[in-house]
């Protein structure tokens, strides 16, 4: 068993995912199964003979510095869950707050 309940709690917190106590064990089991499966790779001897792989172009293109935003067919008020006076609105940050 590579992943315990504590580790699930830690990772879920990093990912900001609510995980109920009831499902912790099942998740730990499933994640262990997946992580043990992918950990097979660690048995493959290190071999860096192949050049590093880069999907797509070898280098990024650059955009000219021109003001040309992709227009929004509908404003943010149409898709935001809470939008007041031009602002996206969330609960106070609580423990994350800086002031």
């Amino acid at each position: 068993m590579s992943i315990g309940k504590e580790e699930v709690v830690h990772v879920a917190r990093l990912a900001e995912l609510a995980v109920s106590e009831a499902e912790l064990q099942k998740l730990a089991d499933q994640l262990s199964r997946i992580v043990d499966f992918v950990a097979e790779l660690n048995e493959v001897p290190a071999d860096t003979s192949a050049p590093p792989f880069q999907a797509g172009p070898a280098m990024t293109p650059l955009r000219e510095d021109i003001v040309s935003p992709v227009p929004l067919a509908r404003g943010p008020g149409s898709f935001a869950p809470v939008f007041i006076d031009g602002f996206f609105v969330v609960p106070r940050l609580g423990p994350m707050e800086e002031e």
Partner: protein, 473 residues
Amino acid sequence: MTWEIVVGLEVHVQLATRSKMFCGCAVTFGAPPNTHICPVCLGLPGALPVPNAQAVKLGTQAALALGSTIHEHSVFARKNYFYPDLPKGYQISQFDKPLATGGAVQIDSPERGPMNVSITRLHLEEDAGKSLHDRIPGKTAVDLNRAGAPLAEIVSGHDMRSPGEARAYLTALKQILQFAGISECSMEKGSLRVDANISIRRHGDPKLGVKTEVKNMNSFANVSRALEAEYERQAGLLESGGKVQQVTLLFNAATGTVKPMRSKEESHDYRYFPDPDLPPLVLAGSWIDEQRRSLPELPSALRVRLQAEYAVSEYHAHQLTLDRAVADYFEAVVREGTEPARAVGWVLGDAMTGFSEGRGFPVAPVRLAGLAGLVQDGVVSQQAAKRVYAEMETNGESPGAIAARLGLLQVGDTGTLGQWVDEVLAANPGEVARYKGGEARLIGFFVGQVMKKSGGKADPKKVQPVLLEKLQT
């Protein structure tokens, strides 16, 4: 101080581009909330980033101005964390392969004299939006106009040993970046932001102490204050047998204190990895050389040139280069025919007062040169010229016309001067008698009285001969 303070600074500067780092939205300041947003900087599903060429260019020039090594191959990485004004849940930054490393900034330490502060790295990244806690009661309001604005983060070595050195570094850094046209560097507008890393140790101890990070300083003066406050806090902890914890603190400018952020339940684990939406940033060596060649003159070089070319003093050269605009104005005034020494006087004197107050240089160089010429030719006195200058800041009339309208043209004709001299001599018979009795130094008193009588209009150089002549008789 029993303890030595060790300071490193992380400075974020907003690069002076038209559009954002990864999208075509305008970079603005003070626009109505959420009016400069698009799928990319809103982090809408399906949107993708494309880097801004000008941001790359300015970042490269900034690094070159700091003497850093530009890496031909650098990599954008995702820095993962959740915050309401971070739209994608990650910030596109650079991590293990930054744009540039190395370099140094020369500073004048108040304690140690001229020294170098090393630059560890410079990397490109995008800004977050703004969270406003005072707009809607009990809620946080998020404005994403700033989200995606291009930033360079400049990380210094832990080379500073006093708040004064930190301030000197910031001043020098800002100066270089402004000179090179990289950034407006306005702390007020948030285009320059500073985070400080601080630890303390006993003098002579080779080992660094546990460092803390202080944020939320909105001026260079407050950076010094915050460093002092954090020094006191850490010293207090250690002296009372406590330990310094690795925390992030916020500076409160109103109270001058630092306070740990409320929540630090877990250390940050940003899970950096190369951004798969962005292939490596590859810059040709020839392009980097071209940027190096096209760098504008930097403050240190300009200081040397001002001293050589205009024979200004080292002190004045320093004052003239505190802001690129000052040096430019000075040189323009000289080009209009003013003697450099006079130009220094005007630019660092009356003109500087307005500039320091944020009014810029409203008097065109040619007009200031005209005024300086009037003084040189004795048309107006230095004293009167200051009044003329004050008018010129808001009035487009020629300096001569202003001086005439205000009645400040110097009077040099012997008839008028003779009349003023007669009146002064008549009003001060005692002094005349003492002068004639051998108290020659009283000549200065008579000149002063004539100047006073003339309301400053008499040409002092011409008053004395008339006085001497009349006193002979």
